[in-house]
């Protein structure tokens, strides 16, 4: 139960951190690496607020041990935007469509939406709803979220960016 030092790539940067084996990835990201964009909601893998990419795949960071990320790459919502002055098209679309209410689910929604669009740039509404089924919004503002994601499909802006975020930084 001694802390172990793990080395992982977070948003493109190599980081070393000492973690106890029972620390989850979301706890390590927030409490050790001070990346508080990723939220912990349910802690049981139901709400999706903690969604990050592990080696480019969207996962629940509350269901992942930090030690499992040793030697792997993690992308959080902080790493999604292409630069410090630009947002990811999904983030822009969420703003444009008013797809944010209290905001707690937003980082997870954005991560899941970008992952979908990088995989399925021409996603239709049923695909969007299927892909976001693991992200709960307790404000129940789903309509505008789905509209925002579909707007990215419409303008074709997300495919390349999403793929870059999911693969380039992964």
């Amino acid at each position: 139960m001694e802390p172990r030092t793990i080395t992982l790539t977070v948003n493109g940067d190599r980081r070393c951190v000492a973690v106890r084996p029972n620390l989850t990835l979301v706890e390590a990201l927030r409490d050790e690496l001070h990346l508080t964009g990723t939220k912990q909601g349910c802690g049981t893998g139901d709400c999706g607020a903690c969604t990050v990419y592990l080696d480019g795949r969207p996962v629940n960071s509350c269901l992942t041990l930090a030690v499992e990320a040793d030697g792997r790459s993690v992308t959080t919502v902080e790493g999604l935007a292409p630069s410090g002055t630009e947002l990811h098209p999904v983030q822009e679309a969420f703003i444009a469509h008013g797809a944010v209410q209290c905001g707690y689910c937003t980082p997870g929604m954005v991560m899941s939406s970008a992952a979908l669009l990088s995989r399925e740039p021409a996603a239709d509404e049923p695909s969007v709803r299927h892909a976001l089924a693991g992200n709960l919004c307790r404000c129940t503002g789903y309509t505008k979220i789905v509209e925002a994601v579909l707007a990215c499909v419409g303008d074709g802006s997300c495919g390349a960016h999403g793929a870059a975020a999911a693969e380039g930084k992964a």
Partner: protein, 289 residues
């Protein structure tokens, strides 16, 4: 709430896995995806002194297909990888379609097929379709390995035929039978991200208009995923008329042993078994793949 404390091992070979387990099998939890393990450790449903992660063991994440020998799904192969595997989609579509309905995108990118089976929930959605395909599990111990039919591997809620010092290295699916028609149906009160209230997998061949090799498997309506042997026998060798299908569906209803829980009452689950079995068999007879 934090997870309770445990030691963690991430071995690179099977020998190192068995060395890490040693004689502490009962104090050990094996970690593949962790999507069931972490919540159950947090809630206290499962306890352990050490976690042995399998992800670093070379080869355990493989999905291999050979038309002669069939499909082998390694212990660490993700649900999403199996769902997207071209051979699975082409030759075992019932498995891909069952996985698509299971949990969420995020969970399917972390959880494994073998973990779903070893977790031994009566509602494990990969169990009925894999049982309908005649799958076996490969059990590896420190000294030897053997195979068991999946039908019978799960012995009770959260219990399997695996000994504490053993692991399931893969699940093996027989070579595809182009004439075998298979289907998986499930019902849950919500359409998404919900554990099945009832699931049904069915398989059969039509030979000269007669139903052969009939298999009907039910999830969530007994202490384990179960074979509805009498229901299958009610159809085996017969022309699958709507009367015969109705009888098989009623037989499945009589043979399941559901209990009332927060998902559905016992009576409603019995009703669902009959309805879903009838729909599944009709789909197979009317030209399902």
């Amino acid at each position: 709430m934090r997870l309770p404390a445990f030691d963690y091992h991430a071995p690179a070979t099977l020998d190192e896995v068995f060395a890490a387990i040693g004689d502490r099998g009962r104090d050990t939890q094996l970690l593949a995806g962790g999507t069931d393990l972490l919540p159950s450790l947090r809630s206290g449903k499962r306890r352990c002194r050490q976690v042995v992660a399998l992800k670093g063991v070379a080869g355990l994440d493989a999905i291999r297909f050979d038309p002669e020998t069939g499909l082998e799904i390694g212990a660490c192969a993700l649900l999403a990888e199996v769902q997207d595997n071209p051979a699975v989609r082409e030759h075992y579509p019932v498995l891909a379609s069952a996985i698509r309905t299971l949990a969420t995108v995020q969970v399917r990118h972390k959880a494994t097929v073998v973990g779903n089976l070893c977790n031994a929930s009566p509602c494990a959605d990969t169990a009925p379709p894999l049982m309908a395909l005649g799958a076996r599990v490969r059990i590896v111990g420190p000294d030897d390995q053997h195979e068991l039919p999946l039908d019978g591997f799960i012995t009770g809620p959260r219990r399997t035929a695996r000994e504490p010092e053993e692991l399931i290295s893969s699940v093996l699916v027989p070579p595809p039978d182009p004439a075998l028609r298979t289907v998986f149906l499930k019902f849950s009160p919500r359409s998404k991200v919900d554990i099945s209230a009832v699931s049904v997998a069915a398989a059969l061949r039509l030979e000269d208009g007669l139903a052969r090799a009939v298999g009907i498997f039910l999830g969530t309506v007994a202490p384990t995923p179960m074979r509805a042997a009498s229901a299958a026998a009610a159809l085996e060798g017969l022309e699958p008329t709507s009367e015969v299908i109705d009888l098989a569906a009623r037989t499945a209803r009589g043979e399941c042993q559901p209990v009332t829980d927060f998902r559905a009452s016992k009576e409603y689950k019995q009703h669902l078994v009959e309805v879903l079995t009838r729909r599944a068999l009709r789909a197979l007879v009317e030209g399902g793949a």
